[in-house]
Assembly symmetry: C2
Homo-oligomer: 372 residues x 2
């Protein structure tokens, strides 16, 4: 945990339009920037509402799949030929693909050339990001995850050239998200904040975003799950997701995400659900190592702090109040795979090394078993 003098690098699109109706700014920006050939990367749900973008007839790759693979990316890059601005329009998958399309379109590179850190070529086209869920915060980041179909593992690509020129965060776009996805994506946003807030490399400057994001989720997530048309609640969650995205850059996540990933790769659980299932167990396990932060999290989410067992009960009840079944077994996870999952999670050192306490493979297996 760093102090206020510790250097920190803050990257964010130079221009962010936030708020109800902000989407109207897109067409102005495209016109003012002189772009003539916009190209939209969207999932099927958003591909049918392209008219909202106000760009008239617009080229679109509308087949983004959840947890997209490199084949999905290749198709999008091919379709983008000749574009001068790429627009991500959807959840994290669409925005992650848009980042990669923007640096790969009409450039002689493959994903394998640019995966890892700082290997992408300079972007030659514009990039706008428009989230339609309140979760990943991908709109403000420089990182994209794509699944390698051969190894079934997530390939991370990160580059400052993948940072958007503009992010438009219009909570009205999230109004139609159904309750269970609202719950899952909201927990994902919260998890980004919670894990950055409790990380061994947490930074006071980022802590402000993290705690504010957690408070917003505490205040608004139950409201938005109950009533999807609650405009204030939707706005609060879009802001929480934005802040979660800010946390990811300089600090990033820890054990919560590390333990969630195997649920995605092995059982195709949606990222937000996986996070929610793991969240109470990691929070409780870490509680002693970061007591002050854990107490602040409990207060922000509206449950009583205390010892590890009380934290576990409070955080589990919070997730259940969102309508989530909190047992791994309810999602088809097999008990005899827990050990292998624990080994997979334990190997994600880039996250686990920053967890406030050391977790062995046995510790992780015990957490999975507790969640089972």
């Amino acid at each position: 945990m760093y102090n206020l003098t510790t250097p920190v690098e803050l990257r964010r699109p130079a221009l962010v339009h936030y708020g109800s109706g902000a989407l109207a700014k897109l067409a102005d920006w495209v016109a003012a920037s002189g772009f003539k050939a916009p190209f939209v990367v969207a999932d099927p749900i958003n591909a049918v509402r392209l008219s909202l973008l106000g760009l008239g007839e617009v080229n679109c790759f509308g087949d983004v799949v959840p947890e997209p693979g490199s084949d999905n990316l290749e198709d999008a890059v091919s379709a983008a030929k000749g574009a001068d601005v790429v627009i991500g329009f959807g959840g994290g998958s669409a925005m992650d693909l848009a980042k990669l399309v923007a640096v790969m379109v009409d450039q002689p590179v493959e994903l394998s050339d640019i995966s890892g850190a700082n290997k992408a070529p300079a972007r030659k086209v514009g990039l706008a990001q428009i989230p339609t869920t309140a979760g990943t915060g991908s709109e403000v980041g420089t990182r994209a995850l794509v699944t390698d179909p051969e190894t079934n593992s997530k390939v991370a690509t990160e580059s400052p050239y993948m940072l958007a020129d503009i992010a438009i965060i219009d909570p009205d776009l999230t109004m139609t998200v159904p309750p269970h996805i609202t719950a899952a994506t909201g927990v994902d946003a919260m998890a980004h904040c919670v894990e950055a807030f409790t990380s061994k490399r947490s930074h006071p400057l980022i802590d402000d975003y993290a705690l504010r994001g957690i408070q917003l989720v505490g205040r608004y997530l139950q409201r938005a799950v109950k009533n999807g048309n609650d405009a204030e609640a939707r706005a609060g969650l879009s802001l929480a997701a934005f802040y979660g995205g800010i946390c990811l850059g300089p600090v990033n996540t820890t054990a919560g995400h590390a333990l969630s990933y195997p649920l995605g790769t092995q059982y195709k659980l949606p990222h937000g659900i996986a996070n929610a299932l793991i969240f109470p167990h990691v929070l409780a396990k870490n509680a002693e190592a970061c007591a002050e932060q854990t107490a602040a999290i409990a207060q922000a989410l509206g449950f009583r702090g205390g010892d590890s067992a009380e934290i576990l009960a409070g955080a589990t009840a919070f997730c259940k109040s969102l309508g989530l079944d909190m047992r791994l077994r309810a999602y088809g996870v097999k008990e005899d795979s827990l050990r292998a999952m624990a080994e997979e999670a334990h190997a994600i050192r880039r996250l686990l090394d920053w967890n406030p306490r050391e977790l062995s493979v046995d510790d992780i297996e015990a957490l999975y078993r507790q969640a089972y």
Copy 2:
């Protein structure tokens, strides 16, 4: 006072390096960006420590004066010919001139062509901003003020092209700022936050920066005035100035700054001192119109809230504790000029229209008289 759903435009350099030692990132960034001809805009105090920038021999215009006029700007633009990146290195004056130099260098425009909003041509060179005081927050903004020598009034120029590519906020650079300038610039940063926080167009998203900035000034300004080498305090104030700059973009200041400007134009009072002299009087006058915000400000600065008289006493004591003489008369202001100053201030509608309460010329004159 807007709510969480209200649209807001957030502009900030896409890359901000903050923290002790962050200055070392400048040379890396210049090299990685491929710039070959950097040009520094600095005041004389910083022109003698160019070696800190790590750029070797570097072209520099080192004659930035306080409250610079258009002649000072013209000299800087001429000296910049052939530059491919402009670096502002100093306080608000140096950074404001750097913004203008960056859009004017080697372009066929005069200040009169571009003053006002959105008239500057697209910038063809890079722009980096490095504050050496913790006050103006100019490093993150799109606005520059230059004095017209004929009318003696401030000419504002604003353009998204004047936003820096990178801001490097290294509190170590502020360590040598003497106590009275530390106090004045710290109050300026606080005033940006306080006025945005109490503005009629305050926004919850910006309020977070504003309140945090005020808290940082409350916690650290007295410490930094007392001991300039207090690294944590210097860092806190640099962050407060950054947050104040964020407040200026979408919300901006109100009566405090409007009433301060005549002290600058008529009596050449430094901007921070002028702000401090006015601050308690406007805060107290506005107290009823924004009681909740005023109470939060009092708490953040460490004095007791209450009625208008208590606010006035508390805020005045806060400023006095920084070593500031809080009487206008102590700075050579003439009593018989107060009416004319009130008329000048009252005419600054772009700020006064957002003050939480209406202030007549008589009201303003009474505030000056109270401060006299």
